[in-house]
Amino acid sequence: MTPALKTTDLTRSFDIGKRLFGPPRARVHAVNPMSFEVPTGETLGIVGESGCGKSTLARMLVGLLPPTSGQIEIEGRALDRADPAAFGRLIQYVFQDPVSSLNPRKTIRQIIEAPLRNLHGMHGPALDARIAELFDAVNLRPEFLSRYPHEFSGGQAQRIGIARALAASPRILILDEPVSALDVSVQAQVLNLLAELKVKLNLTYLFISHDLAVVEAVSDRIAVLYFGSLVESGPAEKVFATPRHPYTKLLADSAPVVGRPLGGAQSGELPDPLNPPLGCAFATRCPRASDLCKRAIPELRVVEGDQFAACHHPLAP
């Protein structure tokens, strides 16, 4: 079966200090060659710390940012030109900050209409019916349609954002930290809504977050990013329970959990992106680092069964 989403060696680098003429002063590799697949109906969770390339990856996947190299395939079709309109019918994006993702000068109806009109050429009664259906799907009352975004709380605004994404009838949703800006008690409402919609509409999700617990709770599989590279991937229940990559283990140990003493307090920081290390990017912080690690970049490969890690000396379970 063709996967819903497939990337092959997807990369993106940014030029720093652009000049009017001539080459840029420096180049930062935000996403190193990255290949993965998401089967239809699955949720792939993506975790990583700030600056590890999560949002860059997400923006490439929806066509907002052209990749430097590599390919994106959605349901077997290659999307080789960064064109949000072409992507839009297949894959949509839910933003982190729900309020700033809604134009403050448009009514909710105008916001929801846009994808329906532009991507599906809908109008008249069909349009109204579809809007009503969407609003119902995200549990919002129809009288909200004539209001402006600032009248809504974060949780409601995020539902509107989800309704807008669904309006395009996409096959895949990219959820970029969809609940980080919400109150804890509202987070669960939105997460549950997303789970419900996924089943109902047979969607595929890419769920990006820095919150390990949230990712673990919603994902089928999890991919861990570090410094622009995929360092580990595997089934959700195994990745943090039996991490194979030392970085994943550090992450899992660092997360504060009730009933566990403070842990994971390991020194060290991210490498300088302008001056990346030769070998494994985690080597300066890794307790298992060897000479090999400092020389050669580890490739992502099977460690055991369905667990993959990019490490020369992966951990035993």
Binding site: P84, N103, K106, A114, A213
Partner: protein, 620 residues
């Protein structure tokens, strides 16, 4: 619209400006039908008549022309030219700015270099050069003034556009299949319009002055036609003998420009959302206190907060951010304060040392006793001497809480020297020691760094070092790790835990993360809607929460290691603190709520284990 007008006229000066300007504009419009002398009718026999002469209310000028009539016609001209120049400059400048800002990249680069080039001229030079080419004349002066002002508009609007072009709703519009033109017209421009209106309304006055200026120099309107500027220019020769010929047009310019400026300021204040909410007010050195009387002291303890009430008075609204909160902190103890956003955690913490921004904050009741001494309403000098010395703070975002322009070493040195008169060298030595204590490698060298040169974790270590500078008894840490990544958070928490044990610090630790509370705090208090709803020893509260809110909050937060599952969400929203229901604030979301819950005040019951609920989950 009506809201706009109401906001506009809230500002009395703007109203005054609007009235004066309105009057002048109406008179200018009516000029052709008013019974005035023809403005250019000369009568050399009646030169320089003083004001209030027969038939000439304002007197006459050097050619015996009626000043009142010339004034009215001149005003008409000046107003028209000023507005036209502002309109042209504003529209052209805004168009350039929007296009450069939206498309960015090379378009932006080239356009802005050009704009910079134009702005490299002191602007009158450009105007003079343009008039030199086109020749003197009112229309040419208008063109010159409009052209030289385009760069200012373009630059301003470009900045705003860049900000908007990077907002997420633009991306969303792209994904909704809109093209660049559609996005520009329907997403960007509507958001720019208020800025353009503000920019124009605050510069029209300036444009009127400028065109008048060129006419004054003889480069604008040519005789016999006169605008206000050229009237002044012609009158200058007779300044000493017939001052009224100068004063009349001069005062008119002053009146017009002043009323335009007042009105422009009013429009700006009414359109700018930040100014509208009155947010641009300066927080005072200490929070305002308006307290009837202090509650009687109860018991002791290092820090005792008794029935603290802190409110925000914004216009007619009262936000009860902290509502009769009582807390106690003993020496060497770590007390966790947990709650959702807006529940009043930070305001409680900031009230202790009078750091709540005021206006709009006011402490309206309660007592805060440090070693028995009440701090509410204490003189500023006392508060100041305690701040940082007895009670120190660590704030959330270490990038915005450190001064961006001072080296971190200097910030530490300052923290030491405000309370202790030690030499600079001694303070420097201690600062390095502090940096070492918080495990910053290479401390001596790092002391010379600026905050932006450090990573988030390092900055927060500096924040902690600064809090430790004077060996305080209490540290109030307001979500010190929320802005950090998990691995860095773990490092900082471990550091705080170490320091507290080795130095015997008492910590008030604010967070919204139960995991953190469990790992760090001896006791925990839960806040909801500005009140403490539950408090007690951490393990007990977490294991058997007594308040329904605590219980359900714990249940709806996923926990690492529990695997994939549906979460038990709490329906509804946290309450707005400007509109709290009577009785239990959680009642609208509580499954167990009954009428009695909504009837009236519910007390915080219990001793070591307290809960504010009529039907607690467990009996504490």
């Amino acid at each position: 619209m009506s809201l706009f007008l109401r906001l506009l006229f809230r500002n009395k000066l703007a109203g005054f400006g609007a009235v004066v300007l309105g009057l002048i504009v109406v008179l200018a419009l009516l000029t052709p039908i008013l019974p005035l002398h023809p403005p250019n009718e000369t009568n050399t026999a009646n030169r320089f008549l003083r004001p209030l002469s027969d038939g000439h209310l304002l007197g006459t000028d050097h050619l015996g022309r009626d000043l009142l009539s010339r004034l009215m016609w001149g005003t008409r001209l000046s107003l028209a030219v000023g507005f036209a120049a502002a309109l042209v400059a504003g529209l052209l400048g805004a168009t350039i700015g929007v296009i450069a800002g939206y498309f960015g990249g090379r378009t932006d680069n080239v356009t802005m270099r050009g704009i910079d080039m134009l702005m490299a001229f002191p602007y009158i030079l450009l105007a003079l050069a343009i008039v030199a080419v086109l020749g003197p004349g009112l229309f040419n002066a208008l063109v010159a003034v409009a052209v030289v002002n385009i760069p200012f508009f373009a630059r301003n609007i470009r900045g705003v556009t860049v900000g908007i072009a990077h907002r997420e709703f633009i991306d969303a519009a792209r994904l909704a299949g809109m093209g660049n033109t559609r996005i520009l017209l329907t997403e960007v421009v509507p958001n720019i319009v208020p800025v353009v209106v503000i920019a124009m309304s605050t510069t029209i006055g300036w444009m009127i002055l400028e065109t008048a200026g060129l006419s004054f120099l003889g480069l604008g309107s040519q005789p016999p036609q006169a605008d206000l500027g050229s009237m002044l220019g012609e009158a200058r020769a007779a300044l000493i003998t017939a001052p009224h010929t100068s004063i009349v047009p001069g005062v008119m310019i002053l009146l017009i420009v002043m009323s335009v400026n007042l009105l422009g300021d009013g429009i700006r204040d009414a359109l700018d959302p930040r100014l509208r909410s009155g947010a641009l007010s300066r927080p005072m050195a200490a929070t305002r206190v308006k307290r009837a009387e202090a509650p009687a002291p109860k018991g002791d303890g290092l820090l005792r907060i008794d029935a603290l009430e802190t409110q925000f008075h914004v216009g007619p609204r009262i936000y009860r951010a902290v509502n009769r909160v009582s807390l106690q902190l003993d020496p060497g103890e770590c007390l966790g304060l947990i709650g959702e956003s807006g529940s009043g955690k930070s305001v409680t913490a900031l009230s202790v040392m009078g750091l709540v921004a005021s206006p709009p904050g006011v402490i309206t009741g309660g007592a805060i006793r440090l070693n028995g001494q009440d701090l509410i309403g204490a003189p500023y000098e006392l508060l100041r001497s305690l701040r940082g010395r007895k009670v120190a703070y660590i704030f959330q975002d270490p990038l915005s809480t450190l001064h961006p322009l001072y080296r971190i070493g200097d910030q530490l040195i300052e923290a030491i020297r405000v309370h202790e008169p030690v030499s600079h060298a001694e303070a420097h030595r201690r600062a390095i020691k502090l940096l070492e204590d918080v495990r910053i490698p290479n401390a001596a060298q790092r002391a010379r760094a600026y905050p932006h040169e450090m990573s988030g974790g390092m900055r927060q270590r500096v924040g902690i070092a600064m809090a430790l500078a004077n060996d305080p008894e209490i540290i109030i840490a307001d979500e010190p790790t929320t802005a950090l990544d998990v691995t860095v958070q773990a490092q900082i928490l471990a550091l705080l835990d170490d320091l507290r044990r080795s130095r015997g610090l008492a910590i008030l630790f604010i967070t919204h993360d139960f995991g953190v509370v469990a790992q760090l705090c001896d006791r925990v208090a839960v806040m909801y809607g500005g009140r403490i709803v539950e408090a007690g020893p951490t393990p007990k509260v977490l294991a058997a929460p007594a308040h329904p809110y605590t219980k359900r909050l714990i249940a709806c937060v996923p926990e690492l290691g529990a695997g994939r599952r549906a979460l038990a969400a709490i329906p509804g929203l946290p309450p707005a603190v400007d509109d709290l229901p009577p009785g239990c604030a959680f009642a609208p979301r509580c499954e167990k709520a009954r009428d009695s819950c909504r009837a009236g005040e519910i007390a915080l019951d219990g001793d070591a284990r307290q809960v504010r609920c009529l039907f607690p989950e467990v009996t504490p």
